[in-house]
C-alpha cells in the first residue's frame, strides 16, 4: 500500500514536468519574453534597455529550454523553463504579470471557492442518489420512463441558463437572496445559498441518470436474485444489497473530483461575484496573465493527480475485493 502510494507520487513528477513543458511551449510559441515585456511596460516606455531590464528583473533573460552557452547539465538548468518550473515545484508561484503575489492570492481565494464548491458537491451527490433511488423503485413503469426523459431534458439545458434563470427567479423576482456578491461576515450563507442551489439543480439531470444506470446494473447481478430467493423484500434488497454495491462506483467515481473542489467553478464564481479561484482564473484568461494561468494549471494538475491516488485508495476502503499492488 505504502509502496504503491510512493510509486504513484513518483509517477506524478514526469506528469507535472510534462504539464509545465506544455504550458510553456504553448505560451512562448507566439508570446516571446520580449512581447511580454512590451505589453507589461506599455508602448510608451519601450526601449531596448527597458526591455532588457524588465527581462532581468522578471527572470526572462535566459533562453527558453536549452542554453547553448552553458555546459553539461547547466545547458538545461540555465533556462527560463527550468528556473520557473523549479520554483513551481517548490510552491513558489512568484508574482503575476501585474505584480501581485500569486501565492497569497491563491491561499486567500481558495476558501471562498471551497465554501461554494464543497456544499454543492456533497448536497449534489446526496440529492442525486436520493432521486435515483426513488426512480429505481419505480423501475420499468411509465414513471421511470418519464423520469429518464426529464433527466435527459435537464442535461440538455446549458449551465448558463441554470445560472441566469436562478438569478432571475430567486434573486430578482422573489428577492430571497442577493443576486451576487460575497462577504465573510456572519451572513455568508446568504450569498452561498443561490450558487449552491443552482449548482445542485444543474447537476441533477446527468448525476441522477448516471446513478440510476449504476443501480440498475447492480439490480441485474446474481446476488440480487439470491437475496430474492432468501425471501427479502424489494425495499430491503434495494437498500441492503443494491445500494452498498452501487455506492462503490459512485464514491470512487467522484473521489477524483474532491481535490479539484479547491479550484472552484469558473462560471458560478464569475456570475455570482465570488472572489474564489474560479473567477481568478477567468480574470487571468481575460487579461492574458501567463504567470497566473501557469500556476493554476500546475495546481490543477497536482490536485488531479492527488485525486487519482485518492481514488485508488478509496477503492481499497470501499471494496473488500480490491488490494493495491
Amino acid at each position: 500500500m505504502l509502496a504503491y502510494i510512493i510509486r504513484r507520487l513518483l509517477y506524478a513528477i514526469p506528469i507535472l514536468i510534462g504539464v509545465n513543458l506544455l504550458t510553456f511551449t504553448l505560451f512562448f510559441v507566439v508570446n516571446s519574453p520580449d512581447d511580454m515585456a512590451v505589453s507589461q511596460l506599455g508602448e510608451k516606455y519601450v526601449t531596448p534597455e527597458a526591455i532588457a531590464a524588465w527581462k532581468v528583473k522578471n527572470g526572462y533573460d535566459k533562453p527558453l529550454f536549452v542554453n547553448p552557452d552553458a555546459a553539461g547539465v547547466a545547458a538545461f538548468t540555465e533556462t527560463i523553463f527550468f528556473n520557473k518550473s523549479v520554483k513551481l515545484f517548490a510552491f513558489d508561484f512568484g508574482r503575476s504579470e501585474s505584480g501581485r503575489d500569486i501565492t497569497t492570492d491563491v491561499s486567500t481565494r481558495m476558501w471562498p471557492s471551497l465554501a461554494v464548491a464543497l456544499p454543492t458537491f456533497v448536497i449534489g451527490i446526496w440529492v442525486n442518489i436520493c432521486v435515483a433511488l426513488m426512480v429505481v423503485m419505480f423501475h420499468a413503469t411509465r414513471l421511470d420512463r418519464w423520469a429518464v426523459f426529464l433527466f435527459v431534458s435537464l442535461m440538455s439545458i446549458s449551465y448558463l441558463f441554470y445560472i441566469i434563470g436562478g438569478q432571475y427567479l430567486v434573486a430578482k423576482t422573489w428577492r430571497l437572496v442577493p443576486v451576487s456578491g460575497f462577504h465573510t461576515d456572519g451572513q455568508v450563507w446568504r450569498f452561498l445559498i443561490l450558487p449552491v442551489l443552482v449548482g445542485v439543480i444543474a447537476g441533477i439531470g446527468s448525476g441522477a441518470r448516471w446513478y440510476r444506470t449504476l443501480f440498475l446494473e447492480e439490480a441485474n447481478q446474481d446476488y440480487v436474485r439470491t437475496a430474492r430467493a432468501k425471501g427479502a423484500s424489494e425495499i430491503s434488497i434495494l437498500f441492503r444489497h443494491i445500494l452498498p454495491n452501487a455506492l462503490i462506483p459512485i464514491l470512487t467515481g467522484v473521489v477524483v473530483l474532491i481535490p479539484a473542489l479547491f479550484m472552484g467553478s469558473l462560471l458560478i464564481e464569475s456570475f455570482f461575484g465570488i472572489p474564489g479561484l474560479g473567477s481568478y482564473m477567468l480574470d487571468a484568461i481575460k487579461s492574458q496573465d501567463f504567470a497566473i494561468v501557469r500556476t493554476m494549471v500546475f495546481i490543477g494538475s497536482i490536485l488531479y493527480i492527488i485525486g487519482l491516488i485518492l481514488t485508488d485508495i478509496s477503492y481499497t476502503w470501499a471494496d473488500p475485493r480490491v488490494r493495491l499492488n
Binding site: 514526469p14 442535461m155 439545458i157 446549458s158 441566469i164 479539484a260 494561468v293 488531479y304
Partner: protein, 456 residues
Amino acid sequence: MKPVLLWSDALIFLLVIALILFFYRLRRDPQTRERWGQVFSSRLGMVTFTLIMTYVGIALLDSLHFRKALDNPESLQTEEVFYDNKVTSVLDILLQGMGERFERTYSAPFALMSFEKKNMRDAQGNDIRDFPPLKHAGTHLEDPSERGADILSRSLTALLWGLLLSAVVIAPQWLMLRTSANPWHASWAVQAAVLCFFTWLVSISHYYHVLGTDRGGADVAYQSLKGIRTGVLLGTLSTLVMLPIAVTLGVMAGYFKGWVDDLVQYLYTTLSSIPGILLIAASVLLFQVYIDLNPDFFSIGMEKADARFIALCFILGVTSWSSLCRLIRAETLKISQLGYVQAAHAFGVSHTRILSRHILPNVVHIILITFVLDFSALVLAEAVLSYIGVGIDPSMGSWGNMINGARSELSREPAIWWTLTGAFFFMFILVLAANLFSDLVRDAFDPRTAARRSEA
C-alpha cells in the same frame, strides 16, 4: 454571384460525404444493420433523427456561401464585376431577407414599437420622447389594433401553405416507404411540423420580428437560426479531429502494450491532468495572438472568423481525445485476449492486418457512441466558451455569443427575455434530440446493454 468556399464549409461537406460512405459500407454487415434497425424501430428514434437531420440540413444550407455581385454605379465605366464584402449563404436566400431587416435597437416579439424611447419630432413639429415605430414590423397596418387579427390570418395562410408543402414532401416518401416496418409516420409528423413552422416563420417575418430584436436591432429569430451552423459544425468537426488521434493511440496502446502503452498512458494522463478549460483558453488566446500578428492572411472578415472557428474545433479536438483513447485502449486490451485475435496470431496474420481487420471494426461501436454523445456536450461547451471569451468570434453568429451578449438583459426593468429565449429554444431542441438519440444508439450498440436485453 461568386461562390465562397470557407475552410469549414469544405470540411463539413467532406465529413458528410465520408459519413455517407461509412454508413454505406456498414450496411454490408448484417449485425450493424440490425442494430440500426433497432434504433429506427422506435418512434423516439425516428423523431429525434428527423430533428437532428433538420438541424444538419439547415447547417449545410448555411454552409453554401457566396458573395453577391454588386451593381456597378453608372459613373464607373468598367466591365469588372465587384462583389459584396458580405458573405451570403443559401439559407439567407431561403429566409428571404430575414437577416437584413434591422431595427435601431431592442424590440419585443411581434412589437410594432421600439423597446426604448427616443427623442422625436411629432407631426406637429414638437419634440417628444416616445417609443418610435419599427422600420420593418407592422408597417402595412393602418391601425395598430389590427395587429392580432392580422397575425392570425397570416399565420393561417402560412399554415395552409406549410401543409401543402408537407404534402408534396411527404407524398413520395409515403409511396416508397409505406410498407416499411419502421414507424416512418413519426418522422413524417415531425417533417410536417418543421415545414409548417418554417413556412410560417419566413412568411410572417416579412411583417413582424417573431422573436423581437436585440440590442443592435438584429432579428433574434434569424440569429438563432444562424447559430445552428456553428453548433452543428463545432459538434461534428471537433469530434472529427479528435477521432484519429484517440483511435490510433488507443488501439496502438492496447495492442502493442509495453512501452507504447506506457507512453500513450503518460500522454493522456498528462493531458487530462490539466484543467480542460484552462488548456482550451490558453490555446485559443494563442491563436488569437497569431491572427492579430498576421492580419493579412484573410481577405474578408468572415474568413478570419472562420479560421478562428476551425482553430477552436482543432483545439477542442486535440484537448479532448484522452477519454475516448482510454476507452479504446481498454477495449483493445480486451479484444486482444479474445480467441479470434489469438487465432489470427496462430495464422501468422500481420500486425497491420490484425489491427485493421480484427481490432478496428470491433471498436467502431465505441467510436460511434462517443461521436453522438460528444456532439451534444460540444454544443453546450460552445456556449460556455463563448461566455468566457474564448469561443466563437463575436462576428460569427452563435448561441453562445447570443447568451453572452444578453446575460444582463434579464436584470433590466422590464426584463428583456427574448434573446435568451431564442437561443435557449433552438439550442435545447438540438441538444435534447441529440441526447435522446445517443441514448438509443448506445442501447443498441453497447454490448453491455445489448446483453441485458437478450437475457430478458
